[in-house]
């Protein structure tokens, strides 16, 4: 009974744009695709054991056992959100057919906008500094902020501009320098139910993606979509810290997970229906990376609700921690570099982020594999 009622509730929950179809005026939408992906991962590694040994209080928290996170990469002197974003943008361009001047839009999607150390830049937009650094002089630039859904929101915006023919290609980029939240949390966390526990899972990373006009009938984004379940907007807060440089974050992680799992299956089904797929058709599910255990449990529960278990669920949080808005593209870049995808595999990115944002992006990997040295 409850499930039937829910189906009615969620009938139009997502704001969706399918890969093929028509615009409001009846003209055909132009298909789009992911052209290239780049990353910048700091070299320095901080293990979970090292982090937990640095806590001020004797917490008795088995963080690695709870989350599956063994380590995260963290910024060193001279690295920040800006350098990570620029590094990722350059890696993306190295794997792209395009030069920086070819980009018509550049969206910076990070929550942290540190430049010159832990100096958060509110104005001018950080996207302008990134644009100047990589030489994307023709690009319209702006920043967006949508918590851990930032990069996927940027791709959604690019998809919309390209499918209407306004631009041919653009880049979404994000540099997340957020390990400082873990350092600040380490000063305050006392026990496993601390509302700063999630801060200890964070790692630093930069990612970038170029979205372009697709020429192929199959190699294009199948659907992109989002909705905000703002009834739960106050379950996570990140703000400048009062205990040390950088920021602090306070999260009701268990509630967020429960809401995401209970509310999302029918939203995901809406997106799958719009793309003409079933959950079983998806070769790789890439959810937001919070903890390995939460991902595995969540995927299993969503699979039960949708009547089919996912083929493969990507977990990279053990190696990188939760890198916020960049997690999906860290996973994609890692798998591309390691040649783990097969031509024609269908990928589904699922975003659960503070807000509470639920986002979906479904696309195949075909030509992009060539740019990372993949062979059939």
């Amino acid at each position: 009974m409850a499930r039937e009622r829910h189906a009615v509730q969620m009938d139009h929950g997502m704001i969706l744009e399918a890969g093929v179809g028509t615009l409001a005026d009846g003209s055909p939408a132009i298909p789009t695709r992911i052209e290239s992906i780049g990353w910048k991962i700091p070299e320095r590694i901080l293990t979970t054991q090292e982090l937990m040994e640095s806590t001020r209080h004797n917490t008795h928290i088995q963080l690695e056992r709870l989350t599956g996170i063994h380590q995260r990469h963290v910024c060193s002197e001279g690295e920040d959100s800006y350098t990570l974003a620029v590094g990722a943008a350059r890696d993306c361009l190295e794997h792209s057919r395009y030069d920086p001047e070819d980009l018509e839009m550049l969206i910076n999607c990070s929550i942290s906008r540190y430049k010159g150390g832990l100096r958060h830049q509110w104005e001018a937009p950080l996207s302008l500094s990134i644009k100047d650094a990589i030489g994307a002089h023709r690009a319209i630039n702006f920043d967006i902020s949508n918590a851990c859904a930032g990069m996927m929101t940027g791709v959604f915006i690019l998809h919309d501009f390209i499918r209407r023919g306004v631009i041919k290609r653009g880049m979404a980029v994000s540099g997340e320098c957020i390990s400082n939240l873990g350092q600040n949390a380490a000063k305050q966390v006392r026990w496993v139910l601390s509302d700063q526990l999630a801060s200890l899972t964070l790692g630093d990373a930069g990612t970038a993606v170029i979205v372009e006009r697709a020429e192929s009938e199959t190699d294009h984004i199948a659907v992109a979509g989002f909705t905000t379940l703002s009834e739960h907007s106050r379950l996570c807060l990140g703000a400048p810290s009062k205990v040390g440089p950088g920021a602090s974050m306070f999260t009701k992680a268990r509630q967020i997970h429960q809401v995401a799992i209970s509310e999302s299956p029918l939203l995901l089904k809406e997106a799958l229906d719009a793309a003409g797929y079933s959950f079983g058709d998806i070769d790789y599910i890439i959810p937001h990376q919070t903890s390995a255990r939460a991902i595995e449990r969540g995927a299993r529960e969503i699979g039960e609700r949708l009547g089919v278990q996912p083929k493969r669920v990507v977990v990279t949080v053990n190696e990188f921690g939760n890198t916020s808005s960049t997690t999906h593209f860290v996973a994609l870049r890692k798998y591309l570099g390691e040649k783990r995808f097969n031509r024609g595999d269908t990928i589904m990115l699922i975003s659960f982020a503070s807000g509470l944002e639920v986002g979906v992006l479904i696309f195949p990997v075909e030509e992009i594999l060539d740019r990372y040295g993949n062979e059939d």
Binding site: Q9, D11, D25, C148
Partner: protein, 330 residues
């Protein structure tokens, strides 16, 4: 099929102890805008917040999601039929509202949504907060995430503009352009960073071992910023109108950013546009920041200039220097 402006509204701080926070200002502007348009919050499919200076300088979640919940724009899935709402923040200085309109125009044009709202507000993050923020939030956020600011130069205002699809192809927004002049990036900077200093004893007693200092917001506006904004806007308007097949004399109403102070006059005089073709705001809006373009729009709607015009040109300027232009046909 263009994107039409249904209503615009601004908000000001209420008289209360501690002032009014940015989120409350945005809530008030959005609700006034909905009332003016004769709509309910449930009609909104898409909500973009373009404000920069917010309560406690929060970075997460998007302030838009909090506004969405506050005004009741489908915060939970509708009971029967209906739709959800997608919300996020745009951060692009005082051009952010036009960037938000540009993005929203796209989703309206694609047919993904029917109605959307761009909301904005700025307030000194140290002056006050929405009464239920942050204390309605998680755990200890209210105790430890406050941060200071020095010489906050902007006045507290909120603004909202409600957009929907027009069935008439000749009406609504027809063209946007954005240009940046990063040689002037240094003329308006806002940064938050840690500054060493003593911590209050009451805090030190409760949480021993804290690093002495606090995060402080610094906003620095250099001399000549308004004049450079006018130069950049002038350099951008000519090519934009030419690409639209129009001349300066074809524009019935210019809606320039009311700030920085002096920009509007310098721009319109250099362009040779008489005052009756320029939307102005009264002096009570001095210091308005991201809500400036909405204040000027609201003013021109009130005087009838907007409704009478055939071609309207929005000319917004902000840090970068960024110039945003949009052509609108009422």
């Amino acid at each position: 099929m263009g994107t039409k402006i249904e209503a615009a509204s601004t908000s000001r701080p209420r008289r209360r102890l501690g002032g009014t926070g940015a989120i409350k200002l945005a809530d008030d502007a959005a609700q006034a805008c909905l009332e003016r348009a004769g709509r309910t919050a449930a009609d909104i499919d898409f909500l973009i917040n373009a404000g920069i200076y917010r309560d406690n300088n929060i970075g997460e979640p998007a302030v838009a999601s909090i506004i969405q919940e506050d005004i009741g724009a489908n915060p939970d899935p509708p009971l029967e039929g209906g739709h959800g709402t997608f919300s996020f923040d745009v951060v692009n200085g005082a051009v952010g509202v036009l960037t938000g309109i540009h993005i929203l125009d796209g989703f309206l044009t694609s047919g993904a949504v029917d109605v959307g709202i761009v909301v904005t507000s700025d307030a000194d993050p140290e002056r006050g907060s929405n009464w239920d923020f942050p204390f309605g939030l998680v755990g200890s956020a209210g105790r430890v995430s406050r941060s200071g600011s020095t010489k906050f130069p902007f006045a507290a205002f909120g603004g909202a503009v409600l957009l929907s699809r027009s069935e008439d192809e000749t009406k609504g927004f027809s063209r946007f352009a954005f240009a940046t002049f990063s040689e002037y990036k240094h003329l308006l900077k806002a940064e938050m960073s840690w500054e060493e200093g003593p911590i209050p004893q009451v805090v030190a007693d409760v949480v021993p071992g804290l690093e002495p200092g606090t995060n402080v917001l610094h906003i620095d506006q250099g001399e000549g910023y308004a004049a450079r904004c006018a130069e950049c806007a002038l350099a951008s308007v000519g090519p934009f109108l030419e690409s639209a097949g129009l001349d300066v004399n074809d524009i019935d109403l210019f809606i320039p950013s009311p700030t920085p102070a002096g920009f509007s006059d310098a721009f319109s005089q250099a362009l040779g546009v008489p005052a009756d073709r320029v939307a102005m705001v009264d002096e009570s809006f001095a210091g308005v920041h991201t809500a400036g373009p909405i204040a000027a729009l609201e003013s021109s709607m009130r005087t009838g200039q907007f409704g009478d015009a055939r071609h309207v040109l929005f000319v917004t300027v902000g840090s970068g220097i960024t110039v945003g232009l949009a052509l609108y046909h009422p």
